[in-house]
Symmetry: C2
Subunit: 207 residues, 2 copies
């Protein structure tokens, strides 16, 4: 018996109708991401990128990854990266992406501009659509420090997940800390998620 | 074709040997946890518990959940809760657990004692073993505020995952913020993860 056989496929519609959403079962748990014993020495510790965290199943967030973070990033099995800065992606990072079959989605949101509300709403909307497309996961969202631009996109995703604003801001503040911007929070408050729908897995499996 | 059919079972040993660990595929992604349109109004926003976050696939952390958090917790499809306080679990929380088939693992770590290093190491060790047992996931780790006791257990888990101490502390500090304790960090630094092994899914599926 395979561990992938013990969970019957669930109907997405059923889940939506019942509010009690999917209960990930044994079938959906990847094996442990524990490296083998022989590499478990001081020189082989993993270094996640600055401000790294898991957002949801197959969705991660962080600041800008550098070469020291590449061995760790490999363990995530990424399919895509959502990069939220206008600057070109560094050559060494592009090489890492190419070597690991990771697709880059760049949305050039200016980081220096305050307030963030001046940033075209549709850029964040497009980034959210990429995020909601299951074909792109596992994916990593990052900007420079993983605070403002990344925080806003994650906040819009939480809004789409129907989180209350207090909890969305609480999460934003955990990463932005003393660099938090009221304008970012206002952007999330105003962001309209109605009409944004994910591409359900069924649709692309048929294609 | 089911979305659960497209990923062949992987050999855990292969993954351990290659360091490049499991790449979660479409098969491992649960459907969206988006509530149905008809409940998407102001009265039905989800309220995650204080300091809520996802730690890894099927592992969540938070402060003490109250009744306002129950609708949100239902969406996580929890199988277990690791509760790190010595106080009895409140009746209303027990009712929620019973109604949803969630098993409670209580490890009574005294929260008021400083430094945390006085807490028997074996309590955290047992909690980590529960955490590493895939049969218990999805699971939620919580104490009172989701800062110290929860932070230490998550830190020990990160150590087991071979994260560098700097990144472990960075994550701990994100939740503990101005309540951070050097003694907690020292506890994580000293905690010995050698010899701690997860129960691989293969083993219990045979039983």
């Amino acid at each position: 018996m395979s561990i992938y056989d013990c969970q019957p496929p669930m109907c997405l519609e059923t889940i939506r109708k019942t509010l009690v959403s999917f209960s990930p079962a044994v079938a959906d748990m990847p094996p442990e991401r524990k490296p083998s014993a022989e590499i478990n020495d001081e020189e082989n510790f993993f270094v996640p990128p600055l401000n790294f965290s898991m957002v949801d199943y197959g969705i991660f967030r962080s600041g800008f990854p550098d070469t020291a973070n590449f061995p760790f990033l490999k363990t995530l099995g990424l399919r895509s990266i959502i990069y939220l800065c206008p600057e070109p992606y560094p050559e060494v990072n592009m090489q890492f992406l190419n070597a690991n079959g990771i697709r880059l989605f760049q949305f050039g949101v200016e980081g220096s501009k305050e307030p963030f509300v001046n940033i075209p709403d549709d850029l964040v909307r497009h980034a959210l659509e990429v995020l909601l497309d299951e074909r792109n996961r596992p994916l990593l969202i990052h900007c420079k420090r993983g605070k403002h631009r990344t925080g806003c996109l994650v906040g819009c995703f939480r809004k789409w997940q129907n989180w209350c604003l207090a909890s969305i801001f609480d999460e934003y503040l955990r990463f932005a800390a003393d660099k938090a911007r009221v304008s970012d929070q206002r952007f999330m408050e105003l962001f309209d998620v109605s009409g944004i729908k994910p591409i359900p897995s069924q649709d692309y499996l048929k294609s």
